[in-house]
C-alpha cells in the first residue's frame, strides 16, 4: 500500500494561495468601503464584524438561525424521501425514468423566484421556505440517485443473480452502496442550493423568525452592515454543512482510498 501522507507540498501551497486570496479580498473590501466614504452604503470588514457580534447577541438570533435551519431540514427530509422513492425506481427502469425526467429537468431549470411567487399565493408564510427548499433539493437528489443506480456495475448484478441472491439484498448490498458516492455529491449540491433558496423564500415570505426575514428587516432600515453580517452567518452555516457532509461521507464510505 502506498504511504499515506496527510498533506503533500502542493496542497500546502494551495492552502497558502487560498489564504492569500482571502486576505486580498478583505483588504480590497476595506479599500472599497473607504473610497465610498460612507459606512452606510458599504461598511468595511471591521464594521461588519461589529455588526456580526451585535447581531449574534440579539435575543432573536438563535430563534432566527434555528427556524431557518429547521425549515431547511424539513425541506431536505421531504426532498430526500421523495428522491429515494422516485430516484431508485427511475434508475432501475428506463420507462419510469422517461416519465419523470421532463418533470425533474423542468423543476431544476425553473427560476426559484417564480416558484416563490406562486408559493406565496398557495401557502402560509411559514411554509413557503420549506416548500421552496423541497422543490430546489428534490430534483437534484432524485437525478443523482437514479444516475447512481444506472451506473451500478452490471457485472456485480450478474454475479448476484448467478449466486441466487434475493432481490432485496441486491438492492441493499449492491445498489445502495454503489449509489452512496452519487448520493453524497447530490446531498452536497442540493444543500448548497437548498439553503440559499430557503433564505430567499424567507426574504419574500417574511415569517416571524428566520435569517431571510432578518435580512429583509435590516435592509428596510438601510442597515447594510447587518445585512452583510447575516450573509456571513449564512455562508458560515453552509460551510459547516459541507464539512459535516464530507465527514459523514468519509465515515460511511470506508472501502475507498481517500486522497
Amino acid at each position: 500500500m502506498a504511504a499515506n501522507y496527510p498533506m503533500n507540498n502542493s496542497s500546502v501551497r494551495n492552502r497558502i494561495i487560498s489564504l492569500c486570496a482571502i486576505v486580498i479580498l478583505v483588504i480590497g473590501w476595506e479599500w472599497l468601503s473607504r473610497s465610498f466614504n460612507s459606512r452606510q452604503i458599504l461598511p468595511g470588514p471591521l464594521d461588519t464584524l461589529n455588526s456580526l457580534i451585535n447581531v449574534a447577541g440579539k435575543p432573536d438570533f438563535l430563534s432566527s438561525l434555528g427556524f431557518t435551519l429547521l425549515r431547511g431540514l424539513i425541506g431536505f427530509l421531504f426532498a430526500f424521501t421523495g428522491a429515494i422513492l422516485i430516484g431508485i425506481p427511475a434508475g432501475l427502469n428506463s420507462g419510469i425514468e422517461a416519465g419523470f425526467k421532463p418533470i425533474l429537468i423542468t423543476l431544476r431549470s425553473t427560476p426559484v423566484v417564480a416558484i416563490i411567487l406562486l408559493a406565496l399565493i398557495w401557502f402560509k408564510a411559514e411554509q413557503v421556505p420549506v416548500f421552496i427548499g423541497f422543490l430546489t433539493m428534490f430534483p437534484i437528489l432524485a437525478i443523482n440517485i437514479s444516475q447512481g443506480i444506472r451506473e451500478t456495475d452490471t457485472a456485480f448484478i450478474q454475479m448476484a443473480h448467478l449466486y441466487h441472491i434475493k432481490k432485496r439484498r441486491i438492492l441493499t448490498d449492491i445498489y445502495w452502496p454503489s449509489i452512496l458516492p452519487y448520493l453524497y455529491s447530490g446531498i452536497s449540491t442540493a444543500i448548497g442550493f437548498g439553503w440559499r433558496s430557503v433564505i430567499i423564500g424567507e426574504v419574500l415570505s417574511q415569517p416571524r423568525y428566520g435569517i431571510g426575514a432578518m435580512m429583509q428587516d435590516a435592509q428596510s432600515y438601510l442597515l447594510v452592515s447587518e445585512v452583510i453580517a447575516w450573509t456571513v452567518i449564512a455562508i458560515l452555516v453552509s460551510a459547516v454543512f459541507e464539512w459535516i457532509i464530507r465527514l459523514v461521507e468519509k465515515r460511511s464510505i470506508r472501502w475507498k482510498q481517500w486522497a
Binding site: F156, Q158, M159, L162, Y163, I165, K166, P177, S178, K256
Partner: protein
C-alpha cells in the same frame, strides 16, 4: 445426473458460434476447454451457467446444479471486506454461524486469514483472485465454472494460486469446468483437456492428462494450433 450439451446451435447476428455442438462432462473432475481467444469458449460457459440461451439443442444437468463462478475480473464488491465478500452468497443459504464458519474456512484455505477484514482496494490482484476462489468454493454448490480466471496474474503468482486451487479442490471434489487459452494453466489443472477450434466451435481432440503427460499435451497444442 450427467452434465450434457446436446446439438447446441448458437449464433450472434450472422456469426455462427456453435452448430450441432455436443459435449458431456465427467462429474467430480476438472475439465478444461482449451482454445484460441474468441472461439466461443465463454459462450459455452454462459450456456452452462444459464447466462445465455441456446438457439436450439438441449442443456441438461446444469439447470439443476448450484453453480459457483470465478470470473476473470474478480467481481468482488468493493464495499465488503474479504469476509463480507466470501459470506455474500452464503447468507440465506446457510444458518448464520455456519455461514461465517464456512467462509472463514475457505479464507484460511486460500491463505488470507490475516486479511479477513481488508477491503478489496487494500489487496493485490492475486489476493483478490484468491478471495474469489474462496467465495466460489464456500458457496454450497456442486459445480464451479471458471472463465480465464488466472489470466491477469504473473507466472509465479499464477502457480501459487493454481496450487491453492488444487489443494481446496482435493478436499472438496466438486465438478470444475474452466476455459482458458493458457496451456500451462490447462495442464496444471485439467484432468481432461478438450481442444477446441472456431468458426463454428469444434472439438478437435480430447486428452486426459496428468503431470507426467504435460509434454504430450504441449506437443498436441503445437500440432493443432501451430502446424
Amino acid at each position: 445426473m450427467g452434465l450434457k450439451l446436446e446439438n447446441i446451435a448458437k449464433s450472434y447476428k450472422d456469426r455462427v458460434i456453435l452448430d450441432q455442438f455436443s459435449l458431456e462432462f465427467k462429474p467430480g473432475s476438472i475439465t478444461c476447454l482449451f482454445g484460441p481467444s474468441g472461439c466461443g469458449k465463454t459462450t459455452l460457459l454462459n450456456l452452462m451457467g444459464g447466462i445465455t440461451r441456446a438457439d436450439s439443442g438441449s442443456v441438461s444437468g446444469f439447470p439443476e446444479e448450484k453453480i459457483s463462478f470465478i470470473f476473470q475480473e474478480t467481481r468482488l464488491l468493493p464495499w465488503k471486506t474479504v469476509l463480507g465478500n466470501v459470506l455474500f452468497p452464503l447468507i440465506g443459504k446457510l444458518p448464520g454461524s455456519q455461514a461465517v464458519e464456512t467462509a472463514r474456512k475457505f479464507i484460511r484455505l486460500v491463505g488470507l486469514e490475516n486479511e479477513e477484514a481488508f477491503y478489496p482496494y487494500q489487496l493485490s490482484g492475486g489476493m483478490k483472485q484468491r478471495v474469489s476462489i474462496a467465495r466460489a468454493f464456500a458457496f454450497p454448490g456442486s459445480l464451479i465454472l471458471m472463465d480465464e480466471a488466472f489470466q491477469n496474474l504473473d507466472n509465479t503468482l499464477k502457480y501459487n494460486i493454481l496450487d491453492s486451487f488444487l489443494k481446496i479442490w482435493k478436499e472438496d471434489g466438486r465438478t470444475v469446468i474452466f476455459v482458458t487459452h493458457d496451456i500451462d494453466e490447462a495442464v496444471k489443472l485439467g484432468q481432461e483437456i478438450i481442444f477446441l477450434n472456431h468458426n463454428p466451435l469444434q472439438i478437435i481432440r480430447s486428452v486426459s492428462t496428468s503431470e507426467g503427460l504435460s509434454e504430450a499435451v504441449k506437443s498436441a497444442v503445437r500440432e493443432i494450433y501451430y502446424p
